[in-house]
Symmetry: C2
Subunit: 433 residues, 2 copies
């Protein structure tokens, strides 16, 4: 097996919602209430919804085309981005040049757990826009290139019955997963342990979907030192995934839903052997607690429910047998700073070889586990022999992967009429909330 | 090499302070202000200081002699404990029967970071009692058996100048380390990043001592779900040690004190390869942040400063070369629930053999690294050939290690006059704070 023979499914990427996305998915009578992109006073674009500018820092979320020295948590504009961030045709070309067959894309403006809609005042409008987001994502972004995207929806957290209804509605449209929140209690919602979310979890199980808990969602439950540098916000989130696994494993959730499947999106995998050692020792040592894992070890229950997801994780790959080779899945994280694009095949291949991973296990980790976990057939539209890194890259010889400055992207995109913000949205906004 | 040839230094054990400890170390005029053990309304003993009952749950802190079904976070009494918890002569016998040459003991009633004294209202009295604790620990507990204990002091957190003075005072008496707080900002103190503690850290470095940060100290910085079960409080603390490493590595502390040595007491080691991968990738990827590690990788700086400490850690031992074999040290955790006493040699030997650790590395992990890190000569009083598991156990043939019920311990101890609480301390206490 060669690097070019790999098949890559990435279950963690991100779309930057294009400014015109709501136009085609919001009923006419609500259209003037739809989120709009406006250009702020410093040339930065912001989504505005219900009078509030959303907190999405375009800059850090879409660095894929830029040299590293231009990264940062500053606002950016649509026209400064590599178009693959928001244009699905360009996205597929960027997937091809990186040898990626299929991708699961998380929201940006909407928030991983639809936070933009959940925190807005008028929930009727929020619900309409959330549904429009899902319709755009499923019917437009994913459906334009069948076989290239695994659809991932969001739900209205402010009403669990509506969340159930939305799970069922988008399941009908072929959605395979729900992006939710690692630690709901951190944002003021009931916790997973409370049982409040059980009707939604039941619907997800009924519909054979996956619960995706992306890192960042547990950020609110850790009190950092006031002087903590920006490094903390990048290094720590994947270290908190364990807290989510702990809530689900040692609370009642997994006992109640023996078929619930949970992807620990971008959670990393190297922490898992240590955590599994710890919980098995705990279970066998602290017998006075009467933990109930149905006659199994906690580590066995972990492996029945969780998909362990990584972008780059040398230690975790070495310890893959202590994790479970069939619960590990690769991610690309386009267009965020942690992505390995456009050298993902080289990057993951080297890591797999350094860890001594044999060919059969490479296939498990790079595509088979994800396809099974999301019950998604990767070859329904793309025959297997055309799905490899080598075959996809052969289609993308004309894709330029050069990193360019934000200014250069702006020049090129504006000249091509790409990433334009509509004139009627132009107004100053006070600042991001 | 056989199991019996191992030499064991444990750098994480706990003393349960005996009720009469202050008598011999508090100046006469302050004696009536000293902490006292009183028997509460349900037969449980509590330390009372400045009118408050301390939060120490004797039960969970001293389970070593009990069957597992009697463990729990309930109050206990001195007379229910295995006497090795509080009697240094019995402690050394319990070390011998477990093959442990030397031990570093953390406080119980005083708190790992002297919290009992820091939170009491009258700081003058607190300071006197804190010094009495250190004098008892160093001059009595440790000095009674030279060569068997590595002295570990505490400092008054409410005044950094006093903390400096106490570091210097106890250094003169041969103290090798200071027990402090993993995340000071979690208990309302300035963080490590603030620079507030720098004078104390300078004193610790000047005196060639070690800063010990025991797990549990970061507990206050995580917001758990209100329904979180008791398992969380046992499983999670070692998962938070990373946050402390992150504060020290990515804040200014280690740059300012290139010779500072920090023991991550009971922090476990299996999380470290994942964390080191993460911070090196972060440093090499997020170059816009301009991190400064003096021309080194963050992982290299980690290995220059930290001692990685574990009780049982199969995954960590397998990954020892990704941690650094010379920064790993073993712990016993007597008399807590996580201790492997009285089968520590069997337990750690099996783990070392399963991980394929060669003899030379076994010595590094079980004693050489600790001796070097704490700059403490293990053979100054006990010749090396008498320091092995086999030699120590040969001296302890008469030590009964049978687990017995709390009631049976009470019967035996009361019959022997052991663990008595003084009559003049008998009074009801409203409840632990």
């Amino acid at each position: 097996m060669q690097q070019s023979d790999m098949i890559l499914i990435s279950i963690d990427d991100h779309s930057i919602e294009p400014p015109d996305m709501y136009k085609r998915h919001v009923p006419a009578k609500w259209l003037d209430q739809a989120p709009k992109v406006v250009r702020g006073s410093e040339g930065a674009d912001l989504w505005v919804f219900q009078g509030q500018a959303t907190a999405t820092p375009f800059g850090m979320a879409a660095t894929v085309g830029w040299p590293r020295e231009e990264w940062g948590f500053h606002p950016g504009s649509m026209s400064e981005m590599r178009p693959g961030c928001f244009d699905v045709h360009e996205r597929v070309r960027d997937m091809n040049v990186n040898g990626v067959l299929a991708s699961m894309c998380f929201p940006t403006m909407a928030g991983f757990n639809a936070r933009t809609f959940s925190e807005a005042a008028d929930k009727q409008i929020s619900y309409i826009m959330l549904q429009a987001y899902n319709d755009w994502h499923i019917d437009e972004w994913c459906a334009t290139y069948p076989g290239r995207f695994i659809p991932l929806g969001i739900v209205p957290m402010w009403d669990v019955d509506l969340a159930v209804a939305e799970v069922r509605r988008i399941a009908r449209k072929g959605c395979r997963a729900i992006s939710f929140l690692e630690a709901p209690h951190g944002q003021g919602w009931p916790s997973f342990l409370s049982g409040y979310w059980d009707p939604m979890l039941k619907a997800i199980v009924d519909e054979d979907m996956v619960l995706c808990l992306h890192i960042g969602g547990a950020w609110d439950i850790v009190q950092l030192a006031p002087e903590a540098p920006v490094d903390h916000s990048i290094v720590i989130p994947s270290q908190l995934t364990m807290l989510t696994a702990q809530d689900l494993l040692f609370g009642p959730t997994l006992r109640r839903f023996p078929k619930l499947r949970v992807a620990l999106s971008e959670g990393g995998i190297g922490w898992i052997p240590f955590y599994l050692d710890r919980i098995d020792r705990h279970f066998q040592n602290q017998t006075w607690i009467d933990g109930d894992f149905g006659g199994k070890l906690p580590s066995e229950v972990f492996r029945e429910h969780f998909l362990a997801c990584f972008i780059t994780d040398p230690a975790g790959l070495k310890m893959r047998h202590d994790i479970g080779v069939d619960v590990i899945a690769w991610e690309c994280d386009y267009p965020h700073t942690d992505t390995t694009w456009p050298e993902s095949p080289e990057f993951v291949w080297n890591e797999l070889q350094n860890a001594g991973v044999p060919d059969a296990e490479i296939h498990q980790i790079t595509w088979e586990n994800s396809a099974r976990f999301f019950n998604w057939d990767p070859f329904s539209h793309v025959p297997k022999e055309q799905a490899t890194v080598g075959a996809l890259r052969a289609q993308a010889a004309d894709v330029d992967v050069t990193r360019m400055s934000r200014a250069e992207w702006r020049r090129r995109n504006e000249a091509a009429g790409v990433g334009r913000v509509e004139a009627d949205g132009l107004q100053d906004v006070g600042g991001a909330r």
